[in-house]
C-alpha cells in the first residue's frame, strides 16, 4: 500500500501517520506472533527429540533382546550388554563384576570402553570386597549406587580411582534381591563426560540401565538353565553311552561264551567219536603190542634153537643178522605200539566226564605239589634241567571241591608247557637268560584263581587261536600228542565249570589263568565216568 496517494495533505498526513502507527503495531504484533511460533516450534522439536530418543531406546532394547535370544553363551551376553551400555546408552566405560563363590569378593568379569593399556591392566586386577562400604546400599536393598560428579562421600569417591570412572552408577545383577552375584558399573571419566551420557540422578539413562539389567539377568538365567539342561543331556548321553558299552561288553562275553560252548560241544562230539575209535583200536593194538613183544622173545628163542644147527659160517652170520634185524623191527613195533596205546588212553580220558570223587582240596598244597612233581619229573627226564621256581600263594586261597587228579593233570600239563617254553628260549638266548616259572594263587571269594606264568618265548597269535584244539601241537613229532591243552580245557571248563585263559607277549612271557569255583557246580557234584 502506498501511503502518499490516498489522503489529502492535512488529513492525509494525520491519516497516514495513523495508518503507519497501525501498521507498526500490526507489524509488532505479527513479529511477536512469529517469535511465539518460533519458540513453540523449538519446544515442539525438543519434545519430538525426546520422544525420538525414547523410541530409539525402546527399539534398541528390543533389538538387544533378540540378540540375547539368539545366544546362550554367557560371555557373548555380557559383551552385548556392555556394547549396549557404550553404544546405545553412550557411557564411556562399562564393567561387569562377578562374585566369587568361594570368597566374599567381586572380581572383574568383563571390561569394555576405552582404557589405555596401563588402566586396562590395573582394572583387570580389581578386587572389590562384598563388605565394601560403597556396595552397602545394594545389600540393604537399594536398587543402585550413584556417584555423581560432585559426590564427596569418601566410600564412593575412593572407588573412582579403582574403576577408572569419575561419575558412575553400580547396579546389582542376578542373585537374591539383597545379595547380588554380579554388578554392572557404567560411567565416565571427568575428561570424557561432556561427550558421554552423564550420570545424573533420575536420568533416563538410568532407566535404560535398569531395563538392560533386567534383560541381561533374564538372558543369563536362560543361558544358565540351558547350560544345566545341556549338562543334564550330556550326562544322560554319557549314561546311555556307558550302558551301551556295558551291553557291548556283555554281548562280547556272550559271544565268547557261545564260542566256548561251541568249542566244548565240538570237543564233546570229538570225545565221543575218539572214544569209539579208541575203543575199536584198543583191541587190535593190544594184539599188535602183545604179539610183537612175544615175537621179539621168539626171535631170541629162535637164535637159541639154531645154535646147534650145522650151518656154515656164512649162513650163520646171515641168520644172526636177519634175527637181529627182525628183533630190532619188533622192538620198534613195540615202542610205537606203546606210543599209540598212550594216545589211545589219552583219547579215552578225553571222552570221560570226570573221574573219581570230588573232595575239598587245599589249593596251595595242590599247586605246590604239582609244581614239585613237574619239576622233578623234568629233571629225571632231562639231565641238567634248571629253572627258577617261584611261588606266590595267597594264604586265603583256601580249599575248593575238585577232582584233584584231573586238576593235577591240568597243572602238570601247564607247568610242563611252561618248562618247555622256557627251555626253548634258553636254547635261543643262551646264558644271559634265566628261565623261571611262577605259580600263583589268589582267592576270588566264591572261586579261586591259579596262575602259571613262564618267562619263555610267548605264543604267537596264530597259535593262540588254535592251541585248545585237540591234536594241535607245535612240538616236534614224538614230543607231544597235542591233547594236553585240549584235555586241560575240557577238565577246567567242562568238568569244573571253571575258566581257563591265556595272556602272552612274544619274547616276554606266557601266563595261564585258571579260575575254579570253590564248590561243585550243580550237576557236577558227583564224578562221572
Amino acid at each position: 500500500m502506498s501511503s502518499t496517494a490516498i489522503t489529502p495533505a492535512s488529513h492525509g498526513k494525520t491519516g497516514s501517520v495513523s495508518e503507519i502507527d497501525r501498521l507498526r503495531i500490526e507489524n509488532q504484533r505479527l513479529s511477536d506472533e512469529v517469535k511465539r511460533l518460533v519458540t513453540t516450534e523449538v519446544q515442539l522439536y525438543e519434545v519430538q527429540e525426546h520422544l525420538d530418543g525414547q523410541m530409539s531406546a525402546y527399539r534398541q532394547l528390543y533389538e538387544l533382546g533378540k540378540k540375547f535370544n539368539s545366544t546362550v553363551d554367557l560371555t557373548t551376553i555380557l559383551q552385548l550388554a556392555a556394547q549396549f551400555v557404550l553404544y546405545e546408552l553412550n557411557f564411556e566405560r562399562c564393567l561387569f563384576l562377578l562374585k566369587q563363590s568361594d570368597a566374599n569378593i567381586f572380581s572383574i568379569e568383563t571390561i569394555d570402553g576405552y582404557y589405555d593399556d596401563a588402566e586396562s591392566t590395573s582394572i583387570a586386577k580389581l578386587i572389590l570386597p562384598t563388605a565394601s562400604l560403597a556396595l552397602a546400599p545394594l545389600y540393604a536393598g537399594v536398587d543402585r549406587v550413584l556417584c555423581l560428579p560432585d559426590c564427596r562421600r569418601s566410600e564412593l569417591t575412593s572407588l573412582r580411582r579403582l574403576i577408572g570412572m569419575d561419575e558412575y552408577v553400580v547396579l546389582p545383577l542376578g542373585g537374591e534381591p539383597k545379595n547380588p552375584i554380579r554388578l554392572l558399573v557404567a560411567g565416565n571419566t571427568a575428561g570424557q563426560a561432556p561427550y558421554q551420557c552423564r550420570v545424573v540422578q533420575d536420568g533416563e539413562a538410568l532407566l535404560g540401565l535398569a531395563n538392560l539389567v533386567s534383560q541381561t539377568s533374564t538372558a543369563i538365567n536362560n543361558a544358565s538353565f540351558y547350560q544345566a539342561l545341556e549338562w543334564e543331556r550330556e550326562s544322560l548321553e554319557e549314561k546311555v553311552r556307558e550302558r551301551t558299552r556295558e551291553l557291548s561288553r556283555s554281548l562280547d562275553e556272550l559271544r565268547t561264551a557261545q564260542d566256548r560252548l561251541i568249542q566244548t560241544e565240538k570237543l564233546a562230539s570229538l570225545g565221543q567219536l575218539t572214544a569209539g575209535i579208541a575203543h575199536e583200536i584198543k583191541n587190535p593194538l593190544n594184539f599188535i603190542n602183545n604179539f610183537s613183544a612175544l615175537s621179539a622173545e621168539l626171535v631170541d628163542e629162535l637164535g637159541e634153537v639154531l645154535k646147534p644147527a650145522p650151518l656154515n659160517d656164512l649162513m650163520r652170520q646171515e641168520t644172526d643178522e636177519i634175527a637181529k634185524l627182525l628183533k630190532g623191527n619188533l622192538e620198534k613195533v613195540v615202542q610205537h605200539g606203546k606210543r599209540a596205546d598212550s594216545i589211545v588212553r589219552n583219547m579215552l580220558m578225553h571222552s570221560r566226564d570226570g573221574s573219581g570223587e570230588r573232595r575239598a582240596v587245599d589249593i596251595n598244597t595242590l599247586v605246590g605239589e604239582s609244581l614239585n612233581l613237574a619239576y622233578h619229573g623234568a629233571r629225571v627226564e632231562k639231565q641238567g634241567f634248571q629253572i627258577r621256581l617261584e611261588k606266590d600263594f595267597d594264604p586265603a586261597a583256601g580249599e575248593a571241591e575238585l577232582l584233584s587228579q584231573e586238576i593235577t593233570r591240568v597243572l602238570l600239563n601247564l607247568i610242563s608247557n611252561g618248562f618247555y617254553a622256557a627251555m626253548k628260549r634258553k636254547a635261543e638266548d643262551g646264558v644271559a637268560y634265566e628261565p623261571a616259572i611262577t605259580a600263583a594263587t589268589r582267592s576270588l571269594g566264591d572261586s579261586v584263581e591259579i596262575r602259571i606264568r613262564d618267562n619263555g618265548a610267548g605264543i604267537p597269535p596264530e597259535v593262540r587261536e588254535k592251541m585248545f584244539n585237540p591234536f594241535f601241537t607245535t612240538k616236534p613229532p614224538g614230543e607231544g600228542t597235542g591233547l594236553g591243552l585240549s584235555l586241560s580245557f575240557d577238565i577246567v571248563v567242562k568238568q569244573h565249570a571253571g575258566l581257563i585263559e591265556v595272556d602272552t607277549q612274544l619274547g616276554k612271557f606266557t601266563e595261564f589263568r585258571v579260575v575254579l569255583p570253590r564248590s561243585a557246580p550243580a550237576g557236577k557234584a558227583e564224578a562221572h565216568t
Binding site: N27, V38, T39, V42, Q43, Y87, Y114, P194, Y195, Q196
Partner: protein
C-alpha cells in the same frame, strides 16, 4: 592412472581401533595401499592423539589434513555422535595436495593467514585450483584471515577458498585441527589443491528472517554489544524460550543473524547468515565470525526445513550442471552443525543426503564435516557462512 580416492568411517569407541578401521576402509574403497594424501574428519569424543596416530599408522604417514566436527559424513552415512571418524585416502598423478598449518587465530587471525600464505606461496602454480581450509570455529576471524592470506600471496587471480571451521559438538570449549602428526587448537590447516582438474561447487543456506529489520548500534570488530539500542542479550531473549539463553549451545542452534547480502551476490540470496559461537555475560556481548560495523542492518533468523531441503536440491542441480558429462573424482561437504540432527531426524537427514549424492554421483568418494562455519566463494568472492552447506566437487 588418474585419481583413486576412497572414504571409510568407523564408530568404534576405542580411538586406536576407530582410526585404523576408518583408514583401512578408505584404502580398501580406493583400492590402494599407500595414499598420496589423507583427509581426516573426526568427532571430539575421541582421545585425539591416539586417533590421529592410528590413522597415520594405517596410511603410512602420508600427508594429512583435517579437523574435528560436530559429526562426520562418509558417503550417505552422516554420524553426529561424539564417536565417529571419516577418512578419505587419495592417490593421484594428476592432483597435488600441499598442506600447511598456523595457529594463534584468536590473537591474530590475519597473521595466521599470512603464515599459511608464506608456507604455501611456493606451491602455488598456474594449475592451482583452490584452497581447502579448516579453522578453529571458536576463534577464527575469517575476514582477517582471508585478508592476511591474500595480502601475502599477492595473486593476480582469485584463489577460491573452501572449507569449514572445526567444531566440538556444541561444547564450545576446544576444537582440533590436524596437519600430518600435529594436533592443534586455535589453529587453521590449509590444503592447496593443484592439478589438471576442475572444481564445481555450490553454497546454500536454509534460514528465514523472523520479524523486521534491526540495527547494530554498538559493536567492536566481530563483537556486538547492542541492537536497536538494547543490550544484545536482551534482544536475543525475545526470541528464546524461558532461560534458553543460559543454554547457549542450544540457543544458537535455533537462532542466528542474517545480514543483507552484498550487491555482488544478490543472485545467491538476500542474506548472509551469521552464527554466534560465543557470548560474554559479563560484557553483555556476543561474537560472530566476521567483522561488523555500527548501523549494519540485521534480521534475527531461524532455520527452515523446507528452505534447507530445497537448498540442498539446488546444490545438487548446480553442481550437476557444472559437471556436465564429467564425473566427480571426489566431493567435500562442509555442512553447518545446525543443519543436522538439530533440525532433521535421522531418516530425513539420510534422505536429503542420499538425494544430493544421487544427483552428483552415487559412487563418488564423499567426505563431509559438520562445522561451526562454512567457507565458500560466491560470485568470485570468498565468503564465510553459517547455517549453510558448501559442497565442493573435484572433477
Amino acid at each position: 592412472m588418474g585419481t583413486n580416492a576412497g572414504v571409510g568411517m568407523s564408530h568404534h569407541r576405542n580411538p586406536k581401533v576407530a582410526g585404523r578401521e576408518a583408514a583401512e576402509r578408505a584404502l580398501a574403497a580406493a583400492g590402494i595401499d599407500r595414499p598420496d594424501f589423507v583427509f581426516m574428519f573426526a568427532s571430539v569424543g575421541y582421545e585425539q592423539r591416539a586417533l590421529l596416530d592410528a590413522v597415520r599408522a594405517a596410511t603410512g604417514s602420508a600427508p594429512l589434513a583435517g579437523g574435528s566436527g560436530g559429526g562426520v559424513i562418509a558417503g550417505v552415512e552422516a554420524d553426529e555422535s561424539n564417536f565417529s571418524v571419516a577418512v578419505m585416502t587419495i592417490s593421484s598423478d594428476e592432483l597435488s595436495f600441499k598442506n600447511a598449518i598456523a595457529s594463534g587465530l584468536k590473537t591474530d587471525s590475519e597473521a595466521a593467514g599470512r603464515t599459511i600464505a608464506q608456507n604455501l606461496a611456493c606451491e602455488v602454480q598456474p594449475d592451482t585450483l583452490g584452497l581447502i581450509m579448516l579453522g578453529d570455529g571458536l576463534t577464527l576471524n575469517f575476514d582477517r584471515f582471508a585478508a592476511g592470506l591474500k595480502s601475502e600471496l599477492q595473486l593476480d587471480r582469485h584463489l577460491p577458498l573452501f572449507g569449514g571451521t572445526s567444531a566440538d559438538n556444541m561444547e564450545f570449549k576446544q576444537t582440533y585441527q590436524y596437519c600430518d602428526d600435529q594436533i592443534t587448537s586455535d589453529g587453521v590447516v590449509c590444503v592447496l589443491l593443484s592439478g589438471s582438474a576442475r572444481l564445481a561447487w555450490s553454497v546454500n543456506h536454509g534460514c528465514l528472517p523472523i520479524g523486521g529489520e534491526r540495527k547494530v548500534t554498538r559493536c567492536s570488530g566481530n563483537v556486538i554489544y547492542e541492537i536497536d539500542g538494547m543490550p544484545v542479550l536482551d534482544v536475543l531473549k525475545e526470541y528464546l524460550v524461558g532461560d534458553e539463553i543460559d543454554n547457549w549451545s542450544k540457543a544458537v542452534l535455533s537462532l542466528c543473524m542474517a545480514f543483507k547480502a552484498p550487491e555482488q551476490i544478490k543472485g545467491y540470496d538476500d542474506y548472509l547468515i551469521r552464527f554466534m559461537p560465543t557470548k560474554d555475560d559479563k560484557a553483555g556481548s556476543i561474537t560472530i565470525p566476521t567483522e561488523v560495523e555500527e548501523g549494519t542492518s540485521i534480521w534475527m533468523s531461524r532455520r527452515d526445513h523446507e528452505k534447507i531441503s530445497a537448498g540442498v536440491e539446488r546444490i545438487g542441480e548446480e553442481i550437476k550442471s557444472t559437471l556436465g558429462n564429467s564425473a566427480a573424482k571426489m566431493v567435500f561437504q562442509f555442512d553447518c552443525i545446525g543443519r543436522g540432527k538439530a533440525v532433521f531426524r535421522d531418516q530425513q537427514k539420510s534422505q536429503i543426503l542420499e538425494k544430493l549424492q544421487q544427483k552428483i554421483g552415487p559412487t563418488v568418494p564423499w567426505i563431509g564435516l559438520y562445522t561451526y562455519g562454512e567457507i565458500g566463494p560466491i560470485g568470485g568472492h570468498d565468503y564465510f557462512h553459517n547455517y549453510t552447506a558448501v559442497v565442493l566437487a573435484v572433477y
